[in-house]
Every structure is written in structure tokens, then in C-alpha cells.
């Protein structure tokens, strides 16, 4: 094993042209120049719009016709106008919904996965199938009937419209995180569980103190995917709202845009505020995100 890792370290230390599919050469030369130019192009295409959000949000008189990569006269004017239009209230809505929704979704997924992965019981395949079916029923497809159901919850007779629960509860059951969590929990060796059971550990403590700490990588994956899924919600906050005051920030951006009295700079300020939590989550959980994407691709 040590020779293997040493050899891997050696190849990494001295990159060769066999390291990449396109045989990029690490030595200075026309190839390297071309690669740098193409990287600059890729950066420009994919990252420049984000630079424009930042500079536009802090620029005075930012207009759609005067967007640039570099700030002109920096000002906080756009943010103060945006706060007059209530973006912080919208932002608070967004944070409550994302926080509450994610907490609920992760709890629900961990509990369900524990039963599906660690227990044998009749009907397990059916339950798994039902959770997979929830992935086929995204908020968009069932939006019309969902808005009817949210207004008058069957049996319970509750009206969830106009409350944050109208968004939080529907995102609670998501087949994707149940699936990821179940697959991961299956890998935890049963010996650990058996020895703990001999010590008289109950089910909830078993899950909380023994299985869950071993599932931290999977928690990262469902955490970031869940966050992205909830932050992306657009139609759901619209149908769950009684008035525009109930909107999340991402939805409220369209109100800012339609407001003729405010300029593009204010829209960009709102967009920047909506972007910051995503950036924080991304930089904290980048590894989990990449792991989740590649695992999904190999499993198919």
C-alpha cells in the first residue's frame, strides 16, 4: 500500500502529459498559452455575470444599459432603496423557509432511511417505491391541485396559505434525500449495531449516537442538495402566498424588477442578497456537492 501511495504522490508531484485526456503540457509553450486563454474565456462566460451582480449592486445609477465588470462610483444607495421595498422581510421569509424546510427534510429523510436501511419489515419495497414516486411529483407538476390542498388541508381542515408552513411542509418529503441516506446507511456495518444492542441501547439513541455519526458524509450531501432544492422553489412560494408579503426573496425579485421607480441596481442588490446564502453553503459543502453529483452519475 505504501508503495502505491508513494507512486501516486510521485506522479502528482511531476505532472506529465498523460495526466489529462487532452494531454495538456505543463511546460511553458503554445499549448499552455492556449489553455490559459481558454480558461479566461470559460471564467468570463460562467463567472462574469456574478461579478456584474456585485458591481451593479454597489454602483450608483446602475442601469441595464451600463453594466460593467468594474465598479464605478461605489454606494450603498441600492441597498437602502431595496430595504425600503422590504427585501429584508422577504429575505427573512426565505431564511425561515430554507432553515425550517431543510431541518424538516433532513430529519424526515434520516428517520425514514433508518427504517428502510436497517430494518427488515413487510412493505419495505412499497414504501421505497412511494418515496421514489415523490421525486416524480415536483411542486411544479402538482401546483394547481396543491394550491387547492394548501388552502384546505383534507381531514385536518387547516389553511396553510399565507404561513411559512405552506412552503416548509411540502418540501419535507423528498425522495432524493431518502434514497441517498438509505443507500449510505446500508453501508454501516451491522456488527456495530449488534454490539450496541447488547448494551441495551434503544432505537432512537442507536440512530442518533451510533448510526448518524457514521453518516456524516451523506448528511452533507442531503444538506446541500436539500438547500439548493428549497432555495430554488419558485412556484411553491407563489401558490402558498396570500399576498406578495409572503413571498420569498427569489420570488420578490420580480416585484423589484416590475417596480418602475427603482433601477436595475436595486434588482441586482436583491439578487446579491439572495445569492449570498447560496455562496456560503456552496463554499462550506462543495465537497459534498461534488460527491453527490458523481455518486448519482455512477449509480444511474
Amino acid at each position: 500500500m505504501s508503495t502505491l501511495t508513494r507512486r501516486a504522490a510521485a506522479t502528482r508531484a511531476t505532472p506529465t502529459r498523460f495526466d489529462t485526456a487532452l494531454a495538456w503540457s505543463p511546460r511553458p509553450g503554445p499549448g499552455l498559452v492556449l489553455r490559459i486563454l481558454l480558461c479566461a474565456l470559460a471564467l468570463f462566460v460562467f463567472a462574469a455575470p456574478f461579478l456584474i451582480i456585485i458591481t451593479g449592486a454597489f454602483s450608483e445609477h446602475a442601469q441595464a444599459s451600463r453594466l460593467s465588470l468594474l465598479p464605478t462610483e461605489t454606494t450603498l444607495q441600492n441597498f437602502s432603496v431595496a430595504s425600503d421595498r422590504g427585501i429584508w422581510e422577504y429575505f427573512a421569509n426565505s431564511l425561515v423557509i430554507a432553515g425550517g424546510g431543510l431541518l424538516l427534510q433532513m430529519t424526515v429523510s434520516v428517520l425514514a432511511a433508518y427504517a428502510l436501511a436497517r430494518r427488515r419489515f413487510r412493505g419495505r419495497a412499497l414504501v421505497m417505491g412511494l418515496f421514489l414516486l415523490t421525486m416524480m411529483l415536483p411542486e411544479e407538476i402538482i401546483a394547481v391541485p396543491l394550491s387547492v390542498v394548501l388552502g384546505d388541508l383534507p381531514v385536518l381542515g387547516l389553511d396553510l396559505k399565507g404561513t411559512v408552513f405552506g412552503v416548509i411542509l411540502p418540501v419535507g418529503a423528498w425522495g432524493f434525500s431518502v434514497l441517498v441516506m438509505t443507500e449510505f446507511m446500508k453501508e454501516v456495518p451491522t456488527e456495530i449495531e449488534e454490539s450496541a444492542r447488547l448494551d441495551g441501547v434503544g432505537e432512537f439513541r442507536m440512530l442518533w449516537q451510533i448510526v448518524l455519526p457514521l453518516c456524516r458524509p451523506a448528511l452533507g450531501v442531503i444538506g446541500i442538495f436539500g438547500y439548493l432544492m428549497i432555495w430554488d422553489q419558485y412556484l411553491l412560494p407563489i401558490i402558498a402566498a396570500n399576498s406578495p408579503d409572503d413571498y420569498t426573496l427569489t420570488v420578490a425579485l420580480s416585484i423589484l424588477r416590475a417596480d418602475v421607480e427603482v433601477g436595475s441596481g436595486v434588482v441586482l442588490a436583491g439578487a446579491l442578497v439572495a445569492l449570498v446564502p447560496s455562496l456560503i453553503v456552496y463554499f462550506c459543502l462543495q465537497g459534498s456537492l461534488v460527491r453527490g453529483i458523481t455518486a448519482g452519475a455512477t449509480k444511474g
Binding site: L133, V144, P170, I293
Partner: protein
């Protein structure tokens, strides 16, 4: 594969004592205790709406007057509706175009940014940003970038390259392509990550052997790299294309379906019928048709891929 399973004969359980039986009974319902929150939420916010959707799609929904059973009339109305037919074409074109574009651009990005160097990692991190940005934010930015006059951002870049200003989202001729470009912009970095993982799995010795044999770069890509990627990519792509059928947020934010219905997709049509014109019955029929199509396609793809694997 089967050897280890055969080597381990099932342990014969001892006859259970009374206490053990009670414990077993306790264990029989604990899984359901753990499943209850998820199943209840799924029931109330997924399955009941689905059933309600089927019910509504078979009724003419009239507020205050009560719903009236109309059979399959709503479905007939959807299928005969010109705007739904047009929307179906746009949806299909967008789904296929975005998927194909995102895979090509994603592949080029992966080839460009493959490597261990820290700079490359940094560039990959930046290029990935569109994927983690909320769709609504992406839509609002691109609305601004796509400003149709000559001093709009994209147009000034095009002007710098010597092209005249484009109307982008403002003209029925270019709006759909502009929306598609945004879809590619969002999807390509995601595919890049998948392809990078596939590239990392290609044996380096194959590249060395190919170099010894003196094959060209193109042959190397064609006969070593692409075959290594194919298994991971095909299913991901097919599922992405199917998911593309329910595209809504990007289109709604970018164009709202306009101009002149040129970017109307299935879901924006359902939205405007259901929430703007309050035609709940027909909108539900449209939703349920989309659900049926995506469900059938997904299940078929999954079964086919499982069959091929075994």
C-alpha cells in the same frame, strides 16, 4: 459474486421466549414509527394533491357553483388547444437542445479544466457557480444581460467581436434560443463535474500506451476517453432530458412565455390557465398529462438501463 452468499448458511433461530416475542412485536412497528413523518408529509403534499389533480382534471371546476363531472373533456381541450401544441413543441426543443448543449459544453469544460493544479480547482469552483445559484436569480441576471439595445452587456460583447446587436428575449425569432442558451449555461458546469469524475477513472496507462502507438489526439479522445464516459453519461442525460420537460422557473422569469407565445412551454401554459385564468380543470388535465408522460418515460429508462446492466 454468489460464492460468499452460498458460503454463509442462514443461522437457525432459537425458539423465541415470551419476552423475546414481545420485543419482536415491538420491533415490528418501530420501522413504521420512523417512516410515519415522511409518509404523512408525502401523503398530504404529494399523493393527495396528485389524486386531487386527477379528480379536478375530470371536472369543470366552478367556484361557488360546485364541480361538474365532464369526463375526458378537459383532456380533449388540452390536446386540441393550439397553444398547448405549440408549447409542447417548444418544451421538446428546449429539453433536447439544453441537454445536448449542456453535454457538449460540459465536455469541453471538463477537457479544459481537468487536472490537479490549485488554479484549475479555483477555476472549476468559479465556473460551477451557475449551478448553485437559484434559478430565479439566474433569470433576473440574464434578463438584464440580454438587454436588446446595443449597450446591453451581451450585445456590447458581441459588438466588440464585430456582431450587430441582437434582440434576444424581445423577438419571437430569437427568444427561445436565448432561453436555451441560459439553460446550457446552468447545465454545462453540472455535467462538467460528472465528466471530470469519469475522466479521473480513465486508466493513465491507456494514454501512455496510446502515445507509444502514436495515435492522434482525436483518436485518443474518440477511442479511449469517450467510451470510458459513455456508461455514466447516457442515463444521466436521458433523465435530464425527461426532467427538462417540466421546465418552468427559468422560462417564467426570463420571458413569461412571450413574446407572442414564442417561448411558451407546457408548464407556463398550465400556470397561466390555472392561476391567471382560473381554469382549474383544464390546467389540472395539462399537469396530469405531463405527469403521465414523465412517469412513463422515467420508468422505461430505468428498466432499460437495469436490463442492460444485468
Amino acid at each position: 459474486m454468489t460464492a460468499p452468499a452460498a458460503a454463509r448458511p442462514p443461522a437457525k433461530p432459537a425458539p423465541p421466549s415470551r419476552a423475546a416475542r414481545r420485543r419482536r412485536w415491538g420491533r415490528a412497528w418501530t420501522p413504521w414509527l420512523f417512516l410515519a413523518p415522511g409518509l404523512l408529509l408525502a401523503l398530504f403534499f404529494k399523493f393527495i394533491p396528485m389524486i386531487e389533480g386527477i379528480r379536478l382534471s375530470l371536472h369543470e371546476v366552478q367556484p361557488f357553483l360546485g364541480d361538474q363531472w365532464v369526463g375526458l373533456d378537459n383532456y380533449e381541450q388540452v390536446l386540441n388547444d393550439d397553444r398547448f401544441q405549440e408549447a409542447f413543441g417548444h418544451t421538446l426543443l428546449l429539453g433536447l437542445g439544453q441537454t445536448a448543449g449542456a453535454i457538449v459544453v460540459g465536455f469541453l469544460l471538463a477537457l479544459l479544466l481537468e487536472g490537479q493544479a490549485r488554479t484549475l480547482w479555483l477555476i472549476r469552483t468559479a465556473v460551477f457557480l451557475p449551478v448553485v445559484t437559484a434559478l430565479a436569480v439566474v433569470g433576473e441576471i440574464w434578463r438584464l444581460l440580454y438587454l436588446p439595445t446595443g449597450d446591453g452587456f451581451v450585445n456590447s460583447v458581441l459588438g466588440f467581436l464585430g456582431f450587430g446587436p441582437q434582440p434576444f428575449l424581445d423577438s419571437p425569432d430569437t427568444a427561445l434560443w436565448s432561453v436555451m442558451a441560459v439553460g446550457v449555461w446552468i447545465g454545462a458546469p453540472y455535467n462538467m463535474v460528472i465528466i471530470l469524475a469519469g475522466l479521473a477513472g480513465v486508466q493513465r496507462s491507456l494514454y501512455e500506451a496510446a502515445a507509444v502507438d502514436g495515435v492522434s489526439l482525436w483518436q485518443r479522445l474518440r477511442y479511449i476517453t469517450l467510451p470510458a464516459l459513455r456508461p455514466a453519461l447516457t442515463i444521466v442525460l436521458t433523465l435530464a432530458a425527461i426532467r427538462g420537460l417540466r421546465i418552468f422557473t427559468e422560462v417564467y422569469v426570463l420571458t413569461g412565455g412571450g413574446p407572442a407565445g414564442s417561448t411558451e412551454v407546457w408548464m407556463t401554459r398550465v400556470f397561466s390557465l390555472g392561476f391567471e385564468r382560473n381554469d382549474i380543470g383544464v390546467a389540472s388535465a395539462g399537469s396530469m398529462l405531463l405527469l403521465a408522460v414523465t412517469l412513463v418515460l422515467t420508468v422505461t429508462v430505468r428498466l432499460l438501463s437495469r436490463e442492460r446492466k444485468s
